[in-house]
Amino acid sequence: MSELEQFRLETREWLEANCPAAMRVPEAGDDDQYWGGRNPEMSHPDQKVWSDRMGEKGWTTPEWPAEYGGGGLDKDEVKVLRQEMSRIGARTPLHSFGISMLGPALLLYGTEAQKQEHIPKIVRGEIRWCQGYSEPGAGSDLASLQTRAEDQGDHYLVNGSKVWTSYADKADWIFCLTRTDNTGTKHEGISFLLFDMASEGVTTKPILLISGYSPFCETFFDDVKVPKANLMGEEGKGWTIAKYLLTHERAMISGFGHSSGKKTLSQNAVELIGMDAGGKLDDPVLRQNLAQLELDAMVFGHTMSRVTDEAKAGQGLGEAASIFKYYGTELNKRRFELMLSVYGEQGLAWEGDAYDNGKLPRAWLRTKANSIEGGTSEIQLNIIAKRVLGLPS
């Protein structure tokens, strides 16, 4: 038996023994996601059990180095782990911006001490992180940020505010872009700080969205003291890290809205609308629009696979993330618009158990932010035009 096969057997056995039955049931909604942190929220106590067990093995971050608590697995082993988890329908044990965003940047740009301090807690879900990027009034022009971090010898004094901070009200720590220098261009003088949200002077306020709920907050900093040791990367060079993370975020956001193995939208349409005499969906215009959407979604899937394969083969595309972000979010908006068409006027009810408390229209409205957050579609098109196509400024 190959080593990999051996690994598969052991993994299977371990998962069987350690994944609680309740964690093999699909998540019914966002409430079933486990985000860890100092005061974890749970819809079921086994969420923490499952996350802790996986975190202990480092399997919440299987590909991260073992020296910082990660799983230390190679690519093939990671694939096996995912396959085995999927085989028993195991839930993602831990959702975390520490894993999806900060961690990769920390491994690349953090000091040894920072890695030692923060990564194991991310792996084990002990600290929940949020991201402090956007500011009121800055919008797409992220680098124009104004939150100031003044050098006070052993610490920075941070003043300013952030907006669109996802789950700031639930996070323990923040990774935050601040301005330590005003004299250069706007991309210079930005510094990347890590600090505790429990620090004195930090307050948060949730933002209500048009969808009626929101993970977003405004976050205010009033004379917050941040030790110098919490500077990540060089002072004034934070924009490099920010760009790295933005690219990461773009790839994530474009992943939204993929069907989760349930019925396709066209299958739902057939059930809701029925067929005509010729065996075609009894709404010919909607049928065409659905066909175009599903075809495009399929081909977009091929494109993500191709780009991944090209990267592996060293034929990398470079700026692929911008295409994914642009096309993926626009596709997702199209998909939800068509969902409204499929579900009809009844799909627009906002309240009441009979109408799932407006789950569809709320999700639809939420998609409108996809092409705004993490760099608008317009920004992505600018990036493609200039960096990929080399069109002049």
Partner: protein, 379 residues
């Protein structure tokens, strides 16, 4: 007929704009929503509107109306669209009064039209049964029983159901679900035995409702028009309703477009007003052309109602299809061009897209009407 408003109509437009901006703006809609108002609309305001004659604007003078025609009603609806004003104008005046005026007996007209025009009675059409507008799929039945009928069925998405005094119920008197013919329209008291209604709050914060009819007895004189002409009457009412909704949507589109243009001029990024970016400019200009088309088809269609044009169905479907398409584009771009702030509940622009989608879907959206347009064009 010249595709312009005459002086009287221009005055009406200005008056409506002024009144609604003051009393029935987006702020008023927000207040209704946040107070979880029981009725879902302001009765006082509705009475003021009725006192100005709006509830009877298209109703003949003989029945207590102003007789300004559907062009008049369309002007008011457009301004209500601009302000997202909430009232039973759509349900009771645009739809129900039209059905009664077109199909009702003299006695029915005498009994109901003045009461609608004065604002004292609210009537609404109970038509839809499934998720989509599909009148021919009506399954609710009206079975002859002595002199009258017994109606059973379940209706959804009935506008203002829980505050209506009367319902116009569409029920099948012949044929099978799927047949275009065999439908009758029946006047039913909302409080009649066997009728129950349940309020549903929509994404646009307006009233819809589910109506259950369990062996409801109606007398023969509650049939609107005759049973033979029910399907044709319904089509005529729906054509007019779709044109009226298009007028409302047009107002909504113009307002959200104008607000967006203002935002593009004011909002600065990367050291310049974002309205200087040609990418946004071209999209704005394309939308402007679209809006010009929408304006044209709306005024043309409103005039066609009043002129009794015989191609009204074709025009109505063209109108609703085009305006729905433009509304989808303009309301989406309004959010996108506003960026993050457009996503917040605090900012008003998000209210427009919510109302837009409901009005688009009501009585058939772009898909439905583009298909119907092709069918009516014989291809």
């Amino acid at each position: 007929m010249a595709l312009v408003l005459n002086e009287e109509q221009l005055m009406l437009k200005d008056a409506a704009a002024g009144f609604l901006q003051e009393k029935a703006s987006v702020a008023a809609l927000r207040a209704l929503r946040d107070s979880r108002d029981e009725a879902g609309y302001s009765k006082e305001l509705w009475q003021e509107m009725a006192d100005m004659g709006w509830a009877g604007i298209a109703i003949p003078e003989a029945y207590g109306g102003l007789d300004y025609g559907y062009i008049g009603l369309g002007i008011v609806l457009e301004q209500m669209g601009r302000n997202l004003s909430v009232s039973p104008l759509q349900s009771s005046v645009l739809v129900a009064a039209t059905a009664i005026a077109l199909g009702g007996s003299e006695a029915q007209k005498q009994a109901l039209l003045p009461a609608i025009a004065s604002g004292e009675t609210i009537v609404t059409l109970a038509l839809q049964e499934g998720p989509h507008h599909a009148p021919h799929k009506t399954a609710a039945t009206a079975i002859a029983d002595g002199d009258g009928y017994v109606i059973s069925g379940r209706k959804v998405m009935v506008a203002d159901a829980h505050v209506a005094d009367k319902l116009i119920v569409v029920a099948r008197t012949a044929g099978e679900p799927g047949d275009a013919e065999g439908l009758g329209l029946f006047l039913v008291d909302r409080e009649a035995t066997g009728v129950s209604t349940e309020r549903v709050i929509m994404v646009d914060s307006r009233n819809s409702g589910t109506v259950t009819l369990d062996s409801v007895q109606v007398s023969a004189d509650q049939v609107l028009g005759s049973l033979d002409t029910g399907s044709a009457l319904l089509q005529q009412v729906l054509d007019i309703a779709n044109i009226g909704l298009s007028a409302e949507l047009l107002g909504l589109c113009l307002e959200s477009f104008e607000r967006t243009m203002e935002y593009l001029k004011d909002r600065k990024q990367f050291g310049a007003a974002i309205g200087t970016f040609q990418g946004l400019q071209h999209r704005a200009a394309e939308m402007y052309a679209d809006l010009e088309l929408a304006k044209s088809v709306v005024i043309r269609s409103l005039q066609a109602i009043d002129a009794g044009d015989d191609n009204l169905s074709l025009l109505a479907s063209a109108c609703k299809a085009k305006v729905s398409q433009v509304a989808a584009r303009v309301s989406n771009e309004a959010i996108q061009m506003h960026g993050g702030i457009g996503m917040t509940d605090e900012f008003d622009i998000g209210f427009f897209i919510k109302r837009a989608r409901v009005a688009q879907q009501t009585f058939g959206d772009h898909s439905y009407h583009l298909d119907r347009y092709a069918t009516l064009s014989a291809f």
